[in-house]
Amino acid sequence: MAEKSQVSANYSTWPVILALSIVSAPLVLMYAYLFLDTITDTAVGSLIPDSFTLRHWRFLWETLPGKPNIWLVTLNTLIFTTSVTAVIVLVSSMAGYVLSRLNVPARGFFLAGVMVLHAFPSVTLIIAIFIVLQMIGLYNSLIGVILVKAAIDLPLGIWLMKGFYDTVPWEIEMAGVVDGASRFRVWRSLVLPQVRPGIMALGLFSFLSGWSEFILPQVLAPGGKVQVLSVYLSSLIADDNNFDFGTFKAVGVFYIVPVLIVYALFHKYLMNIYGGGSKG
């Protein structure tokens, strides 16, 4: 912050702003066109739209042929994302604490193992997971894909939370124990509030990651009843019979709007992941 205001005090900022604007103009233009294309029709070969239409958004009020209902898909995505987030936040906040504080046997091994799991590309596991899920009957179910997605994202979450717990002073816990609180109570009402920024950041991160997840649901839960938005979206371009670029773009916009909202509201928490540590 201090650095920034110093810069603006000593230099004029408009050349910087101008340069950044020029560089980002194509991006802005692309997003503008993405949105514009969803509500207009454009003659082939032209860049200028010639008529307004809501035709591309009709997927909102009528089910497209051969596709599941969009609201069901949205609901699935919401369930999928929130469940994944809940599992990750819950497990990470506990496991991170245990790894940071308690003297568990083979702690070093756990930490290293978790790290390796995080570095492991999950795609390489997908066939094995597919077979496992099919064997235990969770193939093509939301629960199955939720568990898999949560498990794959957990290592990062656990490490992140461990990092946050490491910054909480030991004395606070000692004070709590001496004050008569049980170990669980100490965690719940004294330590957890200190790592709230971490929990918020992790929750947000998991939400965004879950919302954009494609490959796992595509392979493990492709069925119409359990489809999520990313899979729905991809099925639109995969479908050669009723290829409709306008609808594809409209669904795309529909798909990213929640992300934009969430990001606009909570982006400052996401910074905590990189800033690290609570301010107490």
Partner: protein, 351 residues
């Protein structure tokens, strides 16, 4: 309540920190655990509050053996060096936390918090958060939180270390006042001898995990058992002269200095000795004159402090009422008060 450490030992893995320590703190007494950094003071304190399990021996509160009781069941109050206030709670919530854990109804908690915050003079700060308090105020909150549930024992781990000099002075008498008013048994961990001497009924001085001497401040100052104790107490500190026994006197080889020793000191001719001379016993008023050169002078306002390098090389320190006639480099002849000197064997034992 009386606290007894009975043959207490503590080691971390293979590092033995405390071995077979026995220490008794009387009911309503305030005892200082004094010692240099790393000697095991905090370790002892944490064992008393149940955060560290002893590796040997017993800990008794009154007649109750608490060795295997967890912290939660010991009813103790602890003030940590960093205060360890709960940052997300207000002052009132911080102080009330031990009572809330006990399941006391909210109304009673408020009453107790009011009572105790009156005692430590922070009644007007109850709505603030720890981050909005000065060091001294945080200190008082920590004290209030430690006292609120009427603990059997109050433990203080270097409670004044983070305060500035003036506040330290103020909190020293504050803590002592509160301890007297509540009549609570207290153990103060510190490495500051002034703190220990001014606040406590007795001092237990520790070195490398052992208690070297335990006595009242005056006793310990006048009658230290070892050179270590003598060196630890007193500010400015004592100086030591090295010499040998010669004709019933202490003599420094290659110099004129002879200090007659009492006959009670039984040391054979030629034994190596150490003579401890406190700064107040080396002044113009003593009875054994020694000459030297002033190598360092410092005024402390009311008194002046001088380092005098004797002819043979050893150093003596002198504290005297302010005077302006002596400067660095001057040759002076002052005198040691032979009744004030402390005689130690070469290994530091007092003779």
């Amino acid at each position: 309540m009386r606290v007894l450490l009975d043959n207490f030992s503590k080691s971390f893995g293979t590092t033995k920190v405390i071995e077979n320590m026995t220490l008794e703190v009387g009911h309503g007494e305030m005892l200082a655990l004094l010692g240099p950094s790393g000697c095991g003071k905090s370790t002892t304190l944490f064992a008393i509050c149940g955060i560290h399990r002893p590796t040997g021996g017993r800990i008794l509160f009154g007649d109750r053996d608490v060795t295997d009781l967890p912290s939660q069941a010991r009813n103790i109050g602890v003030v940590f060096q960093s205060y360890a206030l709960y940052p997300h709670m207000t002052v009132a919530e911080n102080i009330g936390f031990p009572l809330k854990v006990k399941g006391m109804p909210g109304e009673d908690i408020r009453k107790e918090v009011d009572r105790i915050s009156g005692l430590v003079h922070i009644g007007n700060l109850l709505g603030r958060r720890p981050a909005e308090l000065s060091g001294g105020q945080q200190q008082r909150v920590a004290l209030a939180r430690a006292l609120v549930r009427k603990p059997d024992v109050l433990l203080l781990d270097e409670p004044l270390a983070n305060l500035d000099a003036k506040l330290r002075l103020e909190m020293r008498s504050e803590i002592r006042r509160i301890q007297r008013e509540t009549g609570i048994t207290a153990i103060l961990v510190t490495h500051d001898q002034v703190e220990a001497m001014s606040m406590c009924d007795r001092i237990a001085i520790m070195k490398e995990g052992e208690i070297v001497q335990i006595a009242t401040p005056a006793e310990m100052y006048n009658d230290p058992r070892t050179a270590f104790v003598a060196g630890f107490l007193g500010n400015p500190p004592i100086t030591f002269l090295r010499g040998v026994m010669a004709n019933g006197a202490f003599a420094i080889p290659d110099s004129e200095i002879r200090v007659p020793l009492p006959v009670s000191i039984a040391a054979s001719e030629g034994t190596k000795l150490m003579l401890g001379v406190r700064p107040e016993h080396f002044t113009p008023a003593g009875d054994i004159a020694v000459s030297g050169k002033v190598t360092f002078a410092e005024t402390q306002g009311r008194e002046n402090l001088y380092d005098v390098s004797l002819d043979g090389g050893p150093l003596l320190r002198s504290i005297q009422p302010v005077r302006h006639d002596v400067n660095i480099g001057d040759a002076v002849t002052w005198a040691i008060d032979s009744k004030g000197v402390l005689v130690f064997a070469d290994d530091g034992r007092r003779l």
